[in-house]
Subunit: 211 residues, 2 copies
Amino acid sequence: MSTRIAKPHPRMRKQPRQARSRATVEAIIEAAAHVLSGLGWAGFTTNKVAETAGVSIGTLYQYFPDKLSLLAAVRRRHFDHVLSVIRDSAEDQKPLRKFAQELVRGMIAAHSIHPTLHQVLLDEAPGDRGSRAAHASFQAQYLNHYATAVATYRKPRKGADMETVARVLSSAIEGVIHNAARRNMLAAPELQKQLVELICAYLSGAGRIGR
Amino acid sequence: MSTRIAKPHPRMRKQPRQARSRATVEAIIEAAAHVLSGLGWAGFTTNKVAETAGVSIGTLYQYFPDKLSLLAAVRRRHFDHVLSVIRDSAEDQKPLRKFAQELVRGMIAAHSIHPTLHQVLLDEAPGDRGSRAAHASFQAQYLNHYATAVATYRKPRKGADMETVARVLSSAIEGVIHNAARRNMLAAPELQKQLVELICAYLSGAGRIGR
DNA sequence: CGGAAATGCGAGTATGTTGTTTATATTTTC
DNA sequence: GAAAATATAAACAACATACTCGCATTTCCG
């Protein structure tokens, strides 16, 4: 076989070796997340990202072969973060309310840094061309954590598809948080309380009043 | 007083007089909604809209002075539609479950035509420059209808701010529908049922198990 | 120190996009 | 059949923006 091509990672043009460049790369990704969240995919330009990062455009292209690889880096970082939040809030057995509280607190915290990043990543930005598998994997894990929680806290009822319930729950939470983020209301404690109550009510399954 | 300036509407360059042109304008707005929903704000170009409408670009500019006025037209039409759905589902006294069912059915129907239009209009597209008042008015009415429903069906509980509850409810519903739209799952009856249950559970206020 | 490697710079380019106009053709009205 | 209304699409001008390249600066290490 021929020699391995010097391609350490398909997503990075040059591997940062010194501490300085590692900080630079971090700054670029952080700036990219900031721009993406603040200006949306339409306003996500490489020049803007470089400027925001306080870095030259040339420097950016020294580490990221193109715009999409930068997007992919942001996506990876954010998804890893969100995933860890969900995992933590459901890790060991705890009362429903406690679970809901931790989940809400965690999700809100995760979105407080870059309020609309999550939605932009899911809706506006183009899907991962290179690693569709990674994206699907995230979706699967994400849903799976919710499904686990549902299975734990919700008594199985007739004809209630686990997956659907998990999807409804997750998208409802995301909807509330996204909406609050747009209004800069993420910090409002009243909102957190209501979101917790929504979760608890749905999972403990009231509503079937008449029967 | 001086003569009224011949500016029938600031949003339309030329008023369509014949039936043919009225159909053209309608086709343009419809195409605009379609493009906006399918390609997002980033893909929303006047040329694309004209092409989709099966109309020349020149024709488009005969009736819409610029891109934003076209966007405004789409927004107006869509918001009017959504508003009427909510109004209808809460118009007269009916049991909670009935209300929820009609609301869900109506919202899903409204989103089935252009699945992601609502979100694009709210998130990606720039806000109305000309008629900020109109936009605010929509928001107010929208929330108000929800608040009314909340007041009707939810027994007042300690420290539960009506407005917050209404916002949580509306954004949760929007989140679920938006998410389902992205997956082409709007038609799934199981999803509708779960969404109804979510609404009922939250409004009838279970969840406070321990007390 | 001092040379080499790593890192950073930013003007410049090339390429495309896109909103809009305009001169012309076709259709409708009366 | 003339005038008004409507439709056409080529062309443009302005702009945006992803990306390169040659060179300057900093860090590493003997």
